[in-house]
């Protein structure tokens, strides 16, 4: 197992290298002179040159890359063009809110999704199954920003239970987490249902029934345990989806996290912030994929010997 984990970590090194190149090249892929775009059409040459220097664009490209890597190693992610503050400082304060938002939405998604999936699989082709699966398609199709506004309108504006925007207390997490979790809950529900239905066809379930075990015992002790292996893997991969969704949800709820920061940065063309965020998100995805692989290898020993 340890060998398998080590191998996966080693495989990440070239990918990390590619990620830093892509993030570094980001500013260079912008059509035209990025410094001119940031400064605005009316800015004089001196201002443009100053921004060029700030973005590190005044040196040869290879040198720029090594400066960039050197700074990264020192934990220097650059300075925001908008606030003139170090990017790392703001990133630190915005990391935890987004982290908890993702965790709470995943918790919500797993409880609701697995619940609906089990109910649908147990009562297959019944009214409850159809209702659950129709609900799941609606959950996938509903625009999250719209759902967020509807929940805000109902629970914050009308009933006053939760704050409309911001994050002053734990209540600020409730609506954003539910909004973000709905789409993932829908995907988990569909997946759990089909995984359970597949498992229920297996011979050992029939043997269990023949031995006279109760339906609930078969469900919990045998079917669920086996059906959960693919569900756990799939759920892990949905963390990436949550990070993407958080960008939209944070903007809806004025939530002070990484997602709303990214949108602000794109709108104001704060390139150092955009670069730092792309880097952070890439690292998070790599880490999530690694964790999912490790968990999967743990649950399904065959995987470890495959390659």
């Amino acid at each position: 197992m340890l060998k398998f984990i080590l191998k996966r970590i080693l495989q990440m090194i070239p990918i990390l290298f590619v990620v830093t190149i892509v993030v570094f090249l980001f500013v260079h892929m912008i059509p035209g002179n990025p410094a001119r775009i940031v400064a605005g059409a009316d800015a004089d040459q001196a201002t443009v040159e100053m921004i060029e220097k700030k973005l590190g664009l005044d040196k040869p490209i290879v040198e720029q890359y090594f400066v960039y890597i050197g700074n990264l190693a020192k934990g220097d992610l650059g300075t925001s063009l908008k606030t003139n503050e170090p990017v790392l400082q703001e990133m630190k304060s915005r990391f935890m809110p987004t982290f908890w938002l993702t965790v709470w939405s995943m918790l919500f998604a797993v409880i609701v999704g697995v619940g609906i999936g089990i109910l649908s699989a147990m009562k297959r082709n019944s009214f409850w199954d159809y209702l659950g699966m129709f609900g799941a398609v609606v959950g996938i199709s509903i625009p999250s920003f719209w759902l967020g506004l509807l929940l805000m309108q109902w629970f914050s504006v009308k009933l006053g239970w939760f704050p409309t925007t911001g994050l002053d207390s734990w209540q600020g997490y409730v609506l954003p987490s539910i909004t973000l979790g709905v789409g993932v809950a829908a995907i988990i529900a569909r997946f759990t249902r089909s995984a359970l239905i597949d498992v229920l066809k297996e011979d050992y379930i029939r043997t269990g029934r023949a031995k006279g075990f109760s339906e609930s015992k078969i469900m919990i002790r045998q079917a669920l345990k086996n059906a959960m292996v693919p569900v756990v893997t799939m759920t892990g991969l949905q963390f990436g989806f949550l990070l993407g969704g958080s960008v939209v949800i944070e903007t809806v709820f004025g939530f002070p996290g990484l997602g709303s920061w990214l949108i602000d940065a794109v709108a104001t063309r704060d390139y150092p912030v955009i670069q730092a965020e792309i880097l952070l998100f890439s690292l998070e995805f790599l880490l999530i994929n690694l964790l999912v692989d490790v968990i999967y290898g743990f649950l399904n020993p065959q995987i470890r010997y495959d390659d």
Binding site: S141, L150, V157, L243, G244, I263, V266, I274, F285
Partner: protein, 293 residues
């Protein structure tokens, strides 16, 4: 005796693939209803500006923020513009963006998938690694990254959504190609001296059509949803465009006084995406030979 023989003949004669598909598809009520809804959407997209009860751009300051009423069925916005008219006209933008993005992504992805699966070796590794990189990011983040480079705007949204559509098509078509390239009829064509490109486009591509169509439909829903999200974030369509996501974004400021401004454009997005998703599910069940009656 004769009737028994006739029955036998009828039973052994295979139904045409089209009739087989239609038989299965008709049975799926939700997918069938969705197909009808989508046809209506396309008609509205074509004739929207002519059936809209009011001019969708005209501000009427005597009619600001009116709730739904006899004159304005879905109410008016902060400029007194008729919301129903704007939604009807906006249908065109929504479908056009979704279709062009998915079409571009599907064409490039299909070609890459065919090349990757047929030629294998380094072409395959190169294309598949490229797809892995694109797939590593959730669609919306990739789109935001691309827009951060290209700048906001509807055309750039199409480009961004198109790019993240490429890898999934490439993978699906590649796996089909791997199966068909070793099939007997392709080997027979090859032994007759057919050129590679001829085999790819005349024999392998048509065999993949059903999976491409299913995925195309499903992807349209996602593309429309992503494009609307980007417009909502202010990265796509800009006001005063009647794009549904942009309309929702503009309505946010009136959540306490006029919430219906956000109700209807959101409902329009949801119903459209839902229809494409249900149709996709239905097509998959009807076209997939693995799904038994």
């Amino acid at each position: 005796m004769t009737t028994i023989q006739e029955n036998k003949v009828a039973a052994t004669q295979p139904a045409s693939p089209w009739r087989e598909f239609w038989k299965k598809f008709k049975r799926q009520k939700l997918a069938f209803a969705s197909a009808i809804f989508i046809v209506l959407l396309f008609i509205v997209a074509l004739i929207g500006p002519w059936i809209a009860p009011f001019d969708y751009t005209k501000a009427d300051y005597s009619q600001i923020l009116q709730g739904p009423n006899d004159k304005h069925w879905l109410g008016t916005d902060a400029f007194g513009r008729d919301i129903l008219s704007r939604i009807l006209v906006g249908t065109r933008t929504t479908l056009l963006v979704g279709l062009s993005a998915v079409l571009a992504g599907a064409i490039i992805g299909t070609i890459l998938g065919l090349l990757s699966g047929y030629y294998g070796k380094w072409i395959d590794s190169l294309i598949m690694r490229f797809c892995d990189v694109l797939l590593a990011f959730p669609g919306i983040l990739l789109a935001i990254g691309i827009i951060a480079i290209l700048g906001p705007g509807m055309i750039n949204v199409v480009v961004a959504v198109g790019i993240f559509t490429i890898p999934m098509f490439a993978r699906i078509v590649r796996s089909n190609t791997l199966v068909y390239k070793n099939s007997l009829y392709v080997e027979a064509t090859r032994s007759l001296g057919a050129a590679n490109l001829y085999i790819i486009f005349r024999h392998i591509l048509p065999a993949s059509f059903s999976s491409i169509i299913v995925y195309f439909t499903m992807r349209l829903g996602t593309a429309i949803l992503t494009a609307a999200s980007l417009s909502f974030l202010g990265l796509g369509a800009q006001p005063p465009s009647p794009e549904w996501g942009a309309m929702l974004s503009a309505g946010r400021d009136y959540l306490t006084t006029a919430p219906y401004i956000t109700y209807f454009p959101g409902l329009a997005i949801m119903l459209t995406v839902l229809a494409f998703n249900l149709l996709g599910d239905g097509l998959r069940d009807a076209l997939d030979p693995k799904v038994k009656d």
